[in-house]
Amino acid sequence: MHRAAGPLLAVTVALVLADSAVVTLALPDILRELDTSVGQVAWVLISFNLVLALGAVPAARLLARGRAAGGSAVGIALFAGASAWCAVAGSIDVLIAARCLQAVGGALAVVGCLELLVRSYGERRGVAVWATAGVVGTATGPFAGGLMTELISWQSIFVVQVPFALLAVPAALAVRAVVPVVVGAEQEPGPESGPAPRPAPDEVAPDRPDVRPNITLALLSAALTAALFLLVLLLVEGWSRSPGIAALTVSVVPIAAIAAGPLARLLQPSEQVEVAVGCFLIAGGLVGLAIPPSSDLAWTIAPQGLVGLGLGLTVDRLTARAVQLRRPRAEHAGWTIGARHVGVVVGLAVLTPVFTADLQDAQVPAQEAITALVLDAPLQPEDKVAVAQALGGALAGEQGQVPDLGPAFARVVVEPAERPALDRLERDLDDQLERAATRAFRDSFLAGAGFALLALLVVLVPRRRRTT
């Protein structure tokens, strides 16, 4: 069990951090199935991130009293139980409550897993594995969630987490059984090193949180929220792609994030240069997502590649810097997790009203464009009237959302000779809606780029020299 413990704990970290955005692609299904509002369904995302942000440091303090393994096991079990509860939630209120509980368990699990991974792999490798698992989880969350939603259901996203988490409970306990460690130790225990004399926790002066990497992480998380959350919404709601297609499309981000490692090893930049370049790439990718030349998915690939590269160059570097060789380690991990998820919440809080307002504003130009096309369509006058009446209902019923014109066109009965013109009109109107949705998301993507540029500023501001 001890041999499998490290990978299982890393998977747990990835699962918990993937949960930050795993339901993004499932939100439209949840909205429909639980018969709720857009505002409420956003809390399925916000509640988890907010509780994780607020709970990470207290959880770390709880674990810092030598209860890392037990606390982690309890956290993982709580996370598993809450995931199962999410899967059977019959109302939006229950789902949000379950997500809060999931985040509480997740906070305990993530900071505890850091301690246990360090025990298993040693300080440097343990922190690296923990940070990388977090990046993989964050980057693959929307992809995995979208695929599960498309292939099975939104509930399956939560069901599939349960067995992984349950396997990690004995793994956490197994690490305690093998290597008893005092939290706050300076030495690096390896798997084979066995117990060694260490200073007691109260003998080690606690380090202050490293503010700069945490602020950078918060700003980058807000930017990455824009990249992942907004992109999947644009693909599913704006461009009417299925969650599965959207999931495959956003898989570019994790793939590019993986490619960032070899690139950094090849060019060997300093840590500051690597992080600054990562921020710049994320900003550039978000600007690219703001200005696609059409709704062809291919136009999102290269900008996503830039975002993924930026993600791979920044998040694990910053996380390691904020956590490594700082005591108490779990508490610093808590600050890092808190910063990242505060960033996600801030990103959602800032970007959601921006794009919902822009989506509302996009209705007028979209309706005018549709009206122009219907008025000038090469159809018989009575067919134009029929189309206008059908569209009127479709547009009126979708306030604040991109309407699906398919059912409206399906209701219009025309002579066979008119059918090609009607089909062309439907395609043209869909194109106008996609144009309007793309325009509506532009400012939000640019705001996300602004967060990444702010992060770049934080990285580039010279450090104050300490006087002795």
């Binding site: 060019l267 930049p269 990718g285 030349p293 005018e368 122009a372 018989q380 134009k384 106008q432 144009r435």
Partner: protein, 203 residues
């Protein structure tokens, strides 16, 4: 790898990547992928119809009239169309602009010669009207030249527009049968008035 290369290589690569991606997107129309902007309602635009006869004529008249009214009101043709379709109450200025627009449309079509002669519309009008069979036969038997000398299309249309209650017409946009009834009644009155005036002039 030297220190300078370590500092410069990754920033240069990233700059090339970002500039390259954004340049390709902008060169392919990135940033202009937006909904169609409605043209200036005052600008001339070709107005055509797939329909023939009365339906085609009515469609062209309405499209020209809405564009003219929108120009008068300082909005786009599309904005005015949506306004009329979505709002229960229509303002006096909108009603006046539409009436003026319809009259201007008749003048424009008269000037450019696109108004068909009355004789070209008679058969279709008789098909739609519920007339006494003998009277319908008699009218169909009239030579086109006689019909065209007795009735001119522009005169009938202008009289019809003057007869129409535009506000009531707009209130019944969702009810084609009611619209037909109002328009038919206005045309019948217009034709009667035109024929009476013609007779008066002859006498």
């Amino acid at each position: 790898m030297t220190g300078l290369v370590r500092v410069v290589a990754l920033p240069v690569v990233s700059l090339v990547l970002v500039v390259g991606v954004l340049a390709v997107q902008l060169l392919n129309g990135g940033g202009t992928y937006e909904p169609l902007r409605p043209p200036d309602a005052c600008a001339e635009r070709p107005v055509t119809s797939r329909a023939d006869g009365i339906d085609g004529l009515a469609e062209r008249l309405v499209l020209l009239a809405v564009a003219d009214a929108a120009c008068t009101l300082g909005v786009s043709r599309e904005a005015l169309t949506l306004e009329l379709a979505q709002r229960a109450e229509v303002s006096d200025s909108e009603v006046a602009a539409l009436r003026d627009g319809l009259l201007a449309a008749v003048r424009q079509m008269t000037d450019d010669g696109s108004l068909p002669p009355a004789s070209a519309l008679v058969d279709e009008a008789l098909d739609q009207a519920e007339l006494n069979g003998v009277l319908e036969f008699a009218i169909r038997a009239l030579p086109d030249s006689l019909i065209d000398s007795a009735l001119t299309t522009d005169d009938v249309l202008i009289r019809t527009i003057e007869q129409l209650d535009v506000r009531s017409l707009l209130a019944d946009l969702d009810s084609p049968a009611e619209l037909d009834r109002q328009v038919e009644a206005a045309i019948t009155e217009a034709v009667k008035d035109a024929l009476l005036d013609r007779l008066r002039n002859l006498l």
